[in-house]
C-alpha cells in the first residue's frame, strides 16, 4: 500500500514538473491576456496602443505580450513560478541539472560560463577558433587564455577540433588552469572528442565548458554528435535561436550537477537586463516544447535535406560539400550532419565571393562565406523548393564564373602569440597606427570577419606579417571586418611602447 501511494505521489510530482507538453510561460501569458489587466506599469506603449505604427508593423498579438515582470508572470532575475517551471522543463528536455533562460543572446550564456568559473589571473584552456564572446569574457574577468592550436584541414582551410593529446599536453603544462572550453561543434559542424576531454579536465580538477551555439539539435536528433550534457560537461551555452527555432537573442545556459545554480544566477544578474523580454522567454518556452515533442522528426528531416543538398552540390563539379567522410577519430571526432558547408576554391571563387553572388544576383542569403568556404544554414523552416534554388544557383555561378583557382589564398591557421592577457591589453595605454605598419606590435583590440566571428587577432597578441597579409586579402575579397575602433579598418590600436 505504501509503495503504491509513493508511486502515485511520485507520479503526481512527475506530471507537475516534467510534462514536456506544457509551456508555462506561454500558458501564463495567454491567461494574462484573457484577464484584460489594466496596465499602469511599464512598458509605456501599453499593449501597443501608445505606438500605433509599431503595432501595425509587429502585430497586436505580439505587442500585447510585451509586458513587464509581475507576480503572475514571474521575474527572470529571481524565478520562482512560471519562469522557474519553464527552466526546469528545459533542464529536463536537455538532460541538465538546471537550465537558465537567457535574453542576451548566447553571448551572455558564454560570458556567464566563463565568469562563473574563472577569476582574474586564472588560466583557461581553449581552442583559438572560439567565438569573440569567449575572448570578450576574458577581457571582462581578466582570465588568461591558454590556446590549444587546432588542427587545420589543408584542403578546406578550416580549423578543426582539438586533438586529445593536444588537450592533454595543455592540461599537463598548465595544471593550475581552472577550465577547458570546447566548441561543440565549430561553425562548420566539426566536433572534438568531448567525452574524453571532459574526463581529462575532471581528472585534473578543471571544469569543462562547451560552446554549443551551433549544437542545440544534438540534444534531440538521432545519430547526432554527443551533446555536452550527455558527455558530462559542467556548463553549456546553447543557441536556441539557431537550430532550435526561438527568437533571435534568446538562448539557454545549461549546467551540470557540479555547478552551483545560485552562484550562476548571481553571475547572470551582474550583466543581464532586469526587464527580460517575454517575447524572448515565451519563444524559448514554446521552442523547447516543440523540440521535446517533435525534435527527432524535425532533425531527421533537416539531415535528409542536407544530405540531399550535399549530393546534388557535389554532382555539379568543383564544389565540395563536405560531410561525415571527414571524420578521423580525433581532430574531427564527429561531424554535424545538418551543416551544409561547401568548399568553393576549386570553382575559382573565394567563399565570400560566392556568398555575395548568391545574395546580389540570386536573392539567396546564406549564413556566411569565408576565404574558402560557404555555409548554408538548414533548419526546421526549410523547404525542398528553396533548396533546389540554392543548388541551381550554385550550378549557375559555376557556369558563369568558373575560373582558375590560382592566386586564391588558402585559409591558414595563424597561431596566436599571446603576449599579455586580453584584459591587460584592452585597458592598456595604446596608440592607433596603420595596420600595414603594425607588424611586431602587440594588438589591443579584436579583428575578425563577421560572421563567423572568430578573431584573427585578439587583444594581447603579437601582430605578424602573415596576419597583416591575411587581413588585407580578406578585406579585398569583401569580407565584413569588425572589431577595431576604426570603422574603416585602416588603423589598429596597439600597445604603446611596442613590447
Amino acid at each position: 500500500m505504501l509503495s503504491q501511494l509513493a508511486f502515485f505521489v511520485l507520479r503526481g510530482e512527475y506530471m507537475k514538473e516534467l510534462n514536456q507538453n506544457r509551456a508555462p510561460i506561454y500558458e501564463a501569458l495567454e491567461q494574462f491576456r484573457e484577464m484584460r489587466v489594466v496596465p499602469f506599469d511599464v512598458p509605456g506603449h501599453k499593449r501597443g496602443r501608445g505606438n500605433p505604427e509599431l503595432t501595425a508593423f509587429l502585430g497586436e498579438a505580439c505587442v500585447s505580450i510585451d509586458v513587464n515582470s509581475m507576480k503572475p508572470l514571474d521575474n527572470l532575475c529571481h524565478p520562482i513560478s512560471v519562469i522557474r517551471e519553464a527552466e526546469e522543463l528545459a533542464a529536463d528536455a536537455f538532460g541538465a541539472a538546471h537550465a537558465f533562460l537567457m535574453v542576451g543572446g548566447t553571448t551572455s550564456s558564454v560570458q556567464t560560463m566563463i565568469l562563473s568559473t574563472c577569476k582574474r589571473g586564472d588560466k583557461i584552456i581553449l581552442p583559438r577558433n572560439v567565438h569573440r564572446s569567449v575572448i570578450n569574457a576574458l577581457v571582462l574577468c581578466g582570465a588568461i587564455p591558454v590556446y590549444v592550436n587546432p588542427e587545420v584541414d589543408v584542403r578546406l582551410g578550416i580549423s578543426l577540433g582539438m586533438k586529445r593529446d593536444q588537450v592533454e599536453k595543455a592540461i599537463r603544462e598548465n595544471p593550475d588552469a581552472v577550465a577547458v572550453l570546447v566548441n561543440n561543434p565549430t561553425y562548420y559542424g566539426i566536433c572534438s572528442d568531448l567525452k574524453a576531454i571532459v574526463q581529462m579536465a575532471h581528472k585534473a580538477g578543471m571544469y569543462c565548458l562547451a560552446d554549443e551555439a551551433h549544437g542545440t539539435h544534438f540534444y534531440f536528433g538521432d545519430n547526432m554528435p554527443l551533446s555536452a550534457m550527455a558527455a558530462g560537461a559542467d556548463m553549456a551555452a546553447v543557441s536556441m535561436h539557431k537550430s532550435g527555432g526561438s527568437l533571435t537573442q534568446s538562448s539557454l545556459l545549461l549546467i551540470g550537477p557540479a555547478i552551483h545554480e545560485g552562484y550562476v544566477r548571481q553571475i547572470i544578474n551582474l550583466t543581464q537586463t532586469t526587464s527580460g523580454s517575454y517575447l524572448l522567454m515565451s519563444s524559448l518556452d514554446i521552442s523547447r516544447r516543440n523540440l521535446a515533442r517533435r525534435g527527432k522528426q524535425i532533425f531527421a528531416r533537416v539531415v535528409e535535406m542536407a544530405d540531399y543538398a550535399r549530393e546534388e552540390i557535389n554532382a555539379i563539379g568543383d564544389y565540395y560539400a563536405f560531410g561525415k567522410e571527414l571524420i578521423n577519430g580525433d581532430s574531427i571526432f564527429d561531424f554535424d550532419p545538418t551543416k551544409l558547408s561547401v568548399h568553393t576554391r576549386d570553382v575559382g571563387l573565394a567563399g565570400i565571393e560566392v556568398y555575395d553572388l548568391l545574395r546580389d544576383e540570386y536573392d539567396i542569403q546564406i549564413e556566411f562565406g569565408d576565404i574558402g568556404n560557404i555555409l548554408a544554414y538548414l533548419s526546421i523552416g526549410d523547404r525542398m523548393g528553396e533548396l533546389e534554388r540554392l543548388v541551381s544557383a550554385l550550378a549557375e555561378i559555376r557556369r558563369r564564373h568558373h575560373r582558375s583557382s590560382k592566386g586564391l589564398l588558402s585559409q591558414e591557421y595563424l597561431p596566436p602569440v599571446v603576449v599579455i592577457s586580453p584584459q591587460e591589453a584592452f585597458y592598456a595605454k595604446k596608440k592607433s597606427i596603420p595596420i600595414k605598419d603594425s607588424v611586431g606590435c602587440v594588438c589591443s583590440e579584436f579583428i575578425m570577419c563577421y560572421p563567423p566571428g572568430i578573431p584573427i587577432l585578439a587583444p594581447g597578441e603579437r601582430i605578424t606579417e602573415e596576419i597583416v597579409q591575411y587581413i588585407e586579402y580578406a578585406k579585398a575579397k569583401g569580407c565584413s571586418m569588425t572589431g577595431p575602433e576604426d570603422p574603416d579598418i585602416q588603423n589598429i590600436n596597439v600597445l604603446e611602447g611596442g613590447r
Binding site: 525542398m384 523548393g385 541551381s392
Partner: protein
C-alpha cells in the same frame, strides 16, 4: 441561393464568378486544387484560390504561349513544358507534326489527375506518344539538361506560391543552359497592372534580360486573369520574335486558331507607353 467564387486580383480588388457546382476540392502536397462548374466560364481550375484556366478563355493563353515561338523558330523538335499540368499547352503543341518530343515537368501529380477527370478536353493530348510526363521539381530536372531543347515553355502559377522558384535568375540560367544554341524560352510573365504583379513582372524581366541576348515581352487579353491583361516573355539565344518571324510559313500550316493570327503576332509585341517605360527601366 447565390454561390460565387471570388479571387483577389489585388488587395483591394476582387473578381467573382458565379458557380453552379463545386466539382473538386483537394489539398495536395503542394497546393489547394479546386474545380468549379460556372455558367459564364464553364469549368474553372483554381490553384490556391487563383484561377489557372477556364474553359471559356484558356484558348487565348494556350495559343499565345505556343504559336508565337513556333512561328519564329524554323525547326523546333524537342520541347520542354514546365507546369501546365492541365494539358492545354501540350494540346496546342501536339498539333505540330514536326515536334518529336514534348517533355512535361509538373511538380504536382494531383493537378494532372484532376484535370484528366474534370477537364478532359484540355488533357486530351497528354497521352500522345510524343509526350513524356515527369513529376519533379523543375529546377532539379532542368539543372541536369544541357543543349537538349529547342523550346522551353514555362507555364507556371504566379510567383507568390509554389512556383516562386520559376521566376528566379537561377531558373532562367539553367533554362538557358538546357536550350540549344538557337533555343527559345517563353514564359507567362504575369500582369503589369496592379502594383504587386507589376513589381514581380519587372523583377523577372530584369532577370531574363541579364540571362538571354534577346528578350521581348508580348501581351494578350485574358478576361479571368488579373486586370484581364496578361504578358508573356519571349527570351531567345538567336531568333528575334519579329525580325525572324516567318508568317507565310506558319500560315501554310493552316492551323485553325481562335485568338492567334500572324498579324496579331506582330501587334502583340507593341506595348502601351507605361509598360514600355516600366520595362526600359529594368533593361538599362
Amino acid at each position: 441561393m447565390e454561390l460565387w467564387f471570388s479571387e483577389f486580383h489585388a488587395p483591394d480588388v476582387k473578381h467573382s464568378i458565379r458557380v453552379n457546382r463545386h466539382l473538386y476540392s483537394q489539398k495536395s502536397n503542394y497546393q489547394q486544387i479546386d474545380i468549379f462548374d460556372t455558367p459564364e466560364f464553364g469549368r474553372v481550375l483554381a490553384l490556391d484560390g487563383n484561377v489557372m484556366l477556364t474553359e471559356r478563355d484558356e484558348f487565348i493563353y494556350d495559343e499565345m504561349i505556343t504559336h508565337v515561338p513556333m512561328s519564329v523558330h524554323p525547326d523546333i523538335r524537342d520541347v520542354l513544358v514546365i507546369g501546365a499540368g492541365d494539358g492545354g499547352v501540350v494540346k496546342e503543341l501536339a498539333r505540330y507534326k514536326t515536334i518529336e518530343k514534348i517533355d512535361l515537368v509538373e511538380m504536382d501529380p494531383q493537378v494532372l489527375e484532376a484535370c484528366r477527370i474534370y477537364l478532359p478536353e484540355n488533357a486530351s493530348k497528354l497521352d500522345d506518344s510524343r509526350v513524356h510526363i515527369y513529376y519533379d521539381n523543375a529546377l532539379r530536372f532542368i539543372r541536369k539538361c544541357y543543349s537538349a531543347y529547342d523550346l522551353i515553355i514555362v507555364d507556371s502559377t504566379d510567383p507568390f506560391g509554389p512556383s516562386e522558384g520559376y521566376f528566379t535568375r537561377e531558373f532562367y540560367g539553367i533554362c538557358y543552359n538546357a536550350l540549344r544554341d538557337d533555343g527559345i524560352m517563353v514564359n507567362q510573365q504575369g500582369s503589369p497592372f496592379y502594383k504587386q504583379d507589376a513589381d514581380a513582372m519587372r523583377r523577372s524581366h530584369q532577370r531574363i534580360v541579364t540571362t538571354f541576348p534577346i528578350s521581348r515581352v508580348y501581351q494578350a487579353h485574358i478576361p479571368t486573369y488579373a486586370a484581364g491583361y496578361w504578358l508573356f516573355g519571349f527570351a531567345s539565344k538567336r531568333y528575334h520574335p519579329i525580325d525572324d518571324f516567318e508568317a507565310d510559313k506558319w500560315n501554310q500550316l493552316k492551323l485553325e486558331t481562335r485568338y492567334y493570327t500572324t498579324k496579331l503576332h506582330i501587334g502583340s509585341f507593341y506595348l502601351p507607353a507605361f509598360l514600355e517605360k516600366m520595362l526600359e527601366e529594368v533593361e538599362r
